[in-house]
């Protein structure tokens, strides 16, 4: 069985949030209920060259949904077994079992499962099951005007784009083995030393 994954190009992503909105539209999500979210990173510092100061501001964006991890902490932690791995290898939530305790959100380093206030249960990216079984891409991927997202067999994506699995501010991939490949923005490498922070926390 192949393992699906996303490719996220943080060099080309302009942070326009089209993927986020496409996901909300496709899945009929309420405003503020995000299965895919854009994390805006901002940072920078000053360089002192013999009394001449130069500035180094930077910004980049990480488009993130559920990474359908190979070692999903959410599945392991869910007390009801509502969170489970489906036949296509996606991680999904059985609405008939979920009690809306929110434990999956704490367990997930990516904060992917979100409470659906209408049902009182959790919901999150299901990889657009209906679309990918028809050999179409998930809605977010096709909506991106910058072609910054890609989707497919993680092995194929790895061959095409390399094997970077994390970028500031994401957690170490060792925790859950996320099925994402990232093209890192050049400033992300030094992000932590340059006072980088999440600029849009209230949106996430």
């Amino acid at each position: 069985m192949k393992t699906y994954g996303f490719y996220i190009d943080t060099v080309n992503c302009s942070g326009c949030k089209t993927c986020q909105v496409a996901c909300q539209d496709k899945n009929d999500l309420e405003p503020g209920h995000l299965w895919r979210k854009i994390i805006d990173i901002e940072g920078g510092d000053w360089k002192n060259d013999n009394g001449v100061f130069s500035e180094y501001p930077f910004a980049y964006h990480v488009s993130l949904a559920c990474n359908h991890c190979s070692d999903p902490l959410c599945v392991q932690s869910c007390p009801t077994q509502a969170m489970h791995v489906t036949d296509i290898g996606a991680v999904d939530i059985d609405q008939d079992k979920c009690i809306g305790c929110g434990y999956c959100t704490w367990a997930c380093p990516y904060d992917a499962p979100k409470l659906d206030k209408r049902t009182g249960r959790m919901s999150k990216c299901d990889l657009c099951y209906d679309r990918i079984t028809k050999n179409e891409n998930p809605s977010c991927v096709d909506a991106c005007p910058m072609r910054a997202l890609d989707f497919g067999d993680i092995e194929v994506l790895k061959e095409k784009y390399g094997n970077t699995r994390s970028i500031f501010p994401l957690a170490s991939p060792e925790l859950t083995k996320p099925n994402i490949i990232i093209r890192p923005h050049k400033n992300s490498l030094k992000a932590s030393v340059r006072n980088a922070s999440i600029a849009n926390r209230e949106e996430l």
């Binding site: 932690s77 009690i99 409470l115």
Partner: protein, 263 residues
């Protein structure tokens, strides 16, 4: 509150108060010099209080579910979920306390009491361990420090000794004083615990409601302890204990709220 809601904080706190009460009750039963009848009655009241705290805690845990209609599913994943195990342990302890209270009403013989005491004590400690494991997830960096399990040991001892102190204050002042001194020492640990949390996560700045309460409790502790040692019961007594308890509760709120911003 970012990731947690207050119902959950109250749940952990009440449950731990209950466990602390059970453990410190065992000491009372052995150290009291009152008559057998008196000890029995006080012991029974303490037991009832522990039971009520546990039940109330459990009710609060329901309040944090967004879909309580499926609540019993929470026991589905004993194999891999610490939360399932925690809830199972909570229910087991509830039944042990209930059985104990009933047995206690029928007989005052030592053996059954001691058996129930050991059963309740062990499952109480197991419950606290499972609670620690439930929250010490690798994804929650802020809680993955030794300060966190420490706070789950401090709360039972702090609230347990405060409640027993209030039970004994009038009737057995000498023993009560020992519980209060123990309480004061544990309160210092609570303060240190809070400072450790703060040292790593200073998102709120230095002076805020948390520091205000700790400072107030610290100041009031001086006359309170002084009057206790002089064997007088004054108002600062009640104020100190309540303030210290509020501090420890706030410490829990702080740990579960501000140490783990989303992502």
């Amino acid at each position: 509150m970012e990731k947690y809601n207050l119902a959950l904080v109250v749940f952990t706190w009440l449950t731990q108060a209950s466990v602390g009460l059970i453990i410190l009750r065992a000491i009372y039963m052995r150290r009291s010099s009152a008559g057998d009848d008196k000890i029995y009655i006080t012991g029974r009241y303490i037991l009832l209080t522990a039971f009520i705290l546990l039940v109330t805690g459990l009710l609060f845990s329901f309040a944090h579910l967004n879909y309580p209609r499926h609540a019993f599913n929470a026991l589905n994943n004993i194999i891999s979920s610490w939360m399932s195990r925690e809830i199972l342990a909570e229910i087991i302890l509830l039944f042990i306390l209930l059985a104990w209270y009933i047995i206690n009403g029928f007989t005052i013989k030592k053996t059954p009491q001691i058996i129930m005491e050991i059963l309740a004590g062990l499952s109480g400690v197991a419950l606290i361990y499972l609670m620690v494991r439930t929250y010490m997830l690798p994804s929650l960096q802020g809680l993955n420090t030794p300060a966190f399990p420490l706070s789950f040991i401090i709360t039972p001892l702090l609230s347990g000794s405060a409640i027993i102190y209030f039970f004994l204050r009038k009737s057995e002042p000498e023993l009560a004083i020992k519980y209060k001194l123990f309480f004061a020492i544990i309160f210092l640990f609570s303060l240190i615990n809070h400072l450790i949390f703060r040292a790593f996560h200073h998102t709120l700045g230095v002076f805020n409601i948390y520091s205000a309460f700790y400072l107030a409790a610290l100041i009031i502790s001086v006359p309170s302890l002084y009057s206790t040692l002089k064997n007088k019961n004054v108002m600062s007594d009640v104020i100190f204990l309540n303030l210290a308890i509020i501090c420890d509760f706030l410490n829990r709120v702080y740990a579960l709220t501000y140490t783990n911003p989303a992502l």
